[in-house]
């Protein structure tokens, strides 16, 4: 009897220890990013960091640390990805949630999850050997490694996220809404467009935001497939270098403890904040579409 109680209490404390460690380490990530990122601003002015498009930390004598060009690149690529992925993803989600038979749905859902499982380095590779050359040929460019290439690949990568979350939202629309619409003589398509999708609106937005988050944070794909040019992009046919790619390229060669080193953490902290805002926003919206039945 005594032994059982001892085990019970010991295990509780063991779990508590594990939980406390995990939580502290995970929260430590944020603390460390902020701590190291803030150090960068001892030598860089906030105005230069955010409003200069000139990033040249290793320039002899007068290094510059403006992230505007890479920030623009990140958003350009993400915007392109969303233009492609949102109609496709929401359309496919609508089909799976409301049109497809249960059997089709059960087969297609894991297949789409498989798309999410493809490592980003493989997607980047496809961008180099297939999508990039294809773009170059179609648009007559000398090099296909452009923002457009990145946008297409990121669209494919964010599709599973958008489809899964949006499908969940669309399926959660109560049947009574549909029945009411049908009983008024509306057909399936009208019901979908006028009743079901508006009812799932906030969940669909949450899905899009999460897909966007995935695209903003993606590293290897853009690193491999967008050409990595440090200039301000003028459009989708320019090569770009995103925030994530910059960290990936420069972290390997930067000396520990320099302003350059800390500036990469500042970029990382900014990325972290963006992803935090994206996730909180999505979670907040996704919570709203749950209908109480």
């Amino acid at each position: 009897m005594q032994k059982r109680h001892f085990i019970d209490i010991a295990i509780k404390w063991l779990f508590f220890g594990a939980a406390a460690t995990s939580v502290m380490v995970l929260l430590g990530i944020f603390g460390m990013l902020l701590f190291n990122g803030v150090k960068a601003f001892a030598h860089i002015s906030l105005a230069e960091f955010f409003f200069s498009s000139n990033w040249n930390p290793s320039a002899y004598g007068k290094p510059s640390y403006g992230i505007l060009a890479m920030l623009t690149s990140t958003f350009l690529v993400t915007l392109g990805a969303m233009l492609l992925a949102v109609p496709l993803g929401v359309g496919a989600a609508t089909y799976l949630a409301q049109v497809a038979t249960e059997k089709t749905r059960l087969i297609l859902k894991p297949v789409i999850e498989l798309l999410a499982a493809i490592p980003s380095v493989v997607v980047g590779f496809i961008g180099i050997v297939m999508v990039g050359p294809f773009i170059a040929r179609v648009f007559g460019l000398s090099n296909g490694l452009t923002a457009l290439n990145g946008a297409i690949l990121l669209a494919v990568m964010s599709l599973p996220t958008i489809i899964t979350v949006a499908e969940d939202a669309i399926r959660s629309v109560p049947n009574s809404f549909k029945e009411a619409s049908y009983s008024l003589g509306a057909n399936q398509w009208t019901t979908l467009i006028k009743v079901v999708l508006p009812a799932a609106y906030s969940g669909i937005i949450a899905a899009i935001i999460l897909g966007m988050g995935r695209a903003i944070g993606e590293t290897m794909t853009v690193l491999m497939a967008t050409g990595n040019a440090l200039a301000m992009p003028r459009g989708f046919f320019d090569p770009v270098r995103t925030m994530t790619a910059t960290i990936a390229i420069e972290l390997g060669e930067v000396p520990y403890g320099t302003t350059h080193y800390y500036s990469l953490f500042a970029v990382g902290a900014l990325l972290f904040l963006i992803s935090l805002v994206v996730n909180l926003l999505a979670e907040n919206l996704a919570g709203r579409y749950r209908y109480k039945l």
Partner: protein, 286 residues
């Protein structure tokens, strides 16, 4: 009314077309990798070292490296993740602080992987002096996987009916006995599925290991967790962007992509089968 039904046909077919397009993307990627990669796959490719500046030979050390580092990730992330989830779900009160902790963990599951790479460099490689090693990379990937394992395990525990806990306690079980004999057996397939998916993601990641331990080329397998290692995802990155003879090594790159993709898909399919069986089992008992 005619117009209306035409609209409906058009609309539904557009949706159908979108689904096919998504499937086509997956098909194209798989076809490209399988059709061009399968030619180089043979026992030499799987079990030999790279030769002649990586223009010939196999990818043996990269396969072993990926396995080693995923093993370290497993040892770290799975016990920690499951224990944390059990504490949060079974022991912790549902108060403000714990809700905040849960929300933070969910959010960390969505943080870009390169951020974990930054953390790994600052804390494991430099801060703790573990250097560029299997250990640093494994721990970094472990942190990346941890929030995912915690969330999926909590989800699995939440799905166990409350009455299983109450029933056991009412018969005089201690809390731990109720969890061990009644809650965990019902949640185990969900936990295993989540863990496998988490590890499959870790095995395919490149950004977090880029600066924490992976090496361009090594002539030996890592002898301990303090050595550097080669890894499949990084090898593919090198062969397709950094190699001096990119066109010449393209077939090797395809082969590497195929092996990596196969590994990840096998893990995913195993997870799917476990989940599918569990779902049927669940149906049977209602």
């Amino acid at each position: 009314m005619r117009q209306n039904s035409l609209q409906q046909r058009l609309g539904l077919n557009t949706l159908r077309f979108f689904v096919l397009l998504v499937l086509l993307f997956l098909g194209i990627i798989l076809w490209e990798v399988f059709s061009k990669g399968s030619g180089v796959i043979n026992s030499g490719f799987l079990f030999d070292y790279p030769r002649k500046g990586m223009t010939l030979g196999g990818i043996f050390p990269t396969i072993m490296g990926t396995i080693f580092v995923t093993l370290v990730t497993t040892i770290f992330a799975i016990p920690m993740g499951i224990a944390t989830a059990i504490y949060l779900s079974e022991y912790a009160n549902d108060n403000g602080i714990n809700r905040l902790i849960r929300a933070s963990i969910r959010n960390l599951a969505g943080v870009p992987s390169i951020i974990y790479g930054l953390f790994g460099v600052a804390v494991f490689v430099q801060g703790m002096g573990l250097g560029s090693s299997v250990l640093s990379s494994g721990l970094t990937l472990g942190l990346l996987t941890l929030p995912y394992i915690i969330t999926t395990t909590e989800e699995a525990l939440k799905n166990v009916p409350h009455s299983y806990r109450e029933g056991a306690l009412a018969l005089g079980a201690t809390k731990w006995e109720a969890i061990w004999t009644n809650v965990l057996p019902s949640a185990v397939s969900g936990i295993v599925t989540g863990s496998i998916l988490g590890l499959s993601r870790a095995a395919g990641e490149t950004a977090p290991i880029l600066f924490t331990g992976v090496a361009f080329y090594l002539r030996y397998l890592p002898g301990s967790v303090y050595d550097s290692f080669m890894a499949m995802p990084y090898h593919l990155y090198i062969l397709s962007t950094q190699h001096h003879a990119i066109e010449e090594v393209r077939p090797l790159a395809y082969g590497t992509a195929l092996v990596l993709l196969s590994l990840v898909f096998v893990l995913n399919i195993i997870a799917f089968i476990i989940r599918y069986r569990y779902r049927n089992f669940n149906k049977a008992r209602i």
